[in-house]
Subunit: 248 residues, 2 copies
């Protein structure tokens, strides 16, 4: 009896890629709408919202789209929902006639009703520069390189002996590799000290993201080698790596 | 039987400055909380939220604080409300332990619970540069210059013969002057064509903001002279000034 299903297209922990078309169809068959969270798929692989029949989607632009730290997020609504969807964060710029300053709120026609208040123009300028680049990118090529990079990392880190949380199957893998170990936190800290910046996601995940646009195979080789060494040598046991920072 | 009173400290149309302490006391006497909108007062005059006993406040930083177009907004909550206030736009950064990734939402202690998602760092960097400057500013001096600038503008534009919507009384005036005329829209457009950028607020307000930090008396003299000339000469009747732009 769910009205709405909210799902991450790629799970932030495990890196599992969900079958958007199949899940959307199943949800619709049960009378539920679907909101897809694209944070870990946009810019990493082709996303076909309208082909999948998705209802709504949200996503960020500061990860794979590389629009800068904390760059503006986005929302998507299928055209069939535009006329009646109510944006709960209604604001000035989503008004039908923002400069009439009427007492009553009247949402704009179409997708414009999803706008809210004043736009962060400086942040939007950085986003625009990023999107200008993405306009010339072939997402099929991005996806192919992403899979090659994560394949290579999976292969090279196998000898570290950590449990792998990310599917080996291409169709079920995003652009990240997540490895599991109860001492994942100090292991990631030891890697950061070597210049390889992954992150730790509680309770036990070492997470590595792969940005195909500029990450090279040699970078992956170096990172994997560092991880194998950090685990094998036990250098992560140094007490300074156990100290919890605010950001993990 | 109102639970909450939401008021602009300075009205965006008329420029009327409200007596924050008196209004807050009156609202409290009737059992209502007060949320103050500071968009047109912060950076323009001293704002004493805790002396006035205010409950909550919101404001922008892109007007008088000059932090750039669409710079981050802010919120204020009196300390007595921190422990029980619920932030309806709850998000990752307002969580008590954001990196524990728990299933349940637990708001942070204190004012941090009002944070929501990832911060727009590029926009925040511009805001930080602006606040660095404001740290060295005496708001009493800002207020004195603001009143002198608006006094001068009121005096010089009196001969234009437009109705004035802004109080002459200092204690009731923000840092803007609003004049009324049914043909205000083309008048503002004609002024913009002369390089004096005010704005039009429906149905009949010509609005002029005064940023005391860098606006000079000679700028005010030039702007007022231009307005008097635009009205007296009837140059605003040129049909190109009647064309409605998206932003007024």
């Amino acid at each position: 009896d769910a009205a709405v299903l909210l799902l991450s297209h790629v799970d932030y922990r495990t890196g599992v890629l969900r079958d958007m078309a199949a899940v959307t169809e199943l949800a619709h068959a049960h009378g539920a709408l679907v909101v897809w969270d694209l944070c870990h798929s946009v810019g990493a692989l082709p996303v076909e919202l309208s082909r999948a029949g998705a209802d709504f989607a949200v996503g960020c632009t500061y990860k794979y789209l590389n629009a800068g730290p904390g760059a503006p997020a986005f929302t998507y609504a299928a055209r069939r929902h535009h006329a009646h969807a109510r944006q709960p964060l209604s604001g000035w710029h989503g008004h039908a006639r923002p400069f009439d300053f009427t007492e009553e709120y009247e949402p704009a026609a179409g997708v414009s009703r999803f706008l809210s208040g004043s736009q962060p123009l400086i942040a939007a300028a950085a986003l625009e520069a990023s999107l200008e680049l993405w306009r010339r990118v072939d997402l099929g090529q991005v996806r192919a390189k992403s899979l090659a990079l994560t394949d290579l990392f999976l292969e090279l880190t196998a000898e570290a002996g950590l449990e792998c949380a990310t599917p080996v199957e291409h169709a079920r893998r995003g652009s990240q590799v997540s490895l599991r170990h109860p001492d994942g936190y100090p292991m990631v800290q030891a890697l950061i000290a070597r210049g390889v910046v992954g992150d730790f996601r509680a309770p036990d995940i070492l997470r590595f993201g792969f940005a195909p646009l500029y990450l090279r195979y040699v970078d992956v080789y170096d990172a994997a080698t560092a991880l194998v060494e950090v685990v094998a040598s036990g250098e992560w046991r140094d007490p300074r790596f156990a100290r919890r920072a605010q950001v993990t």
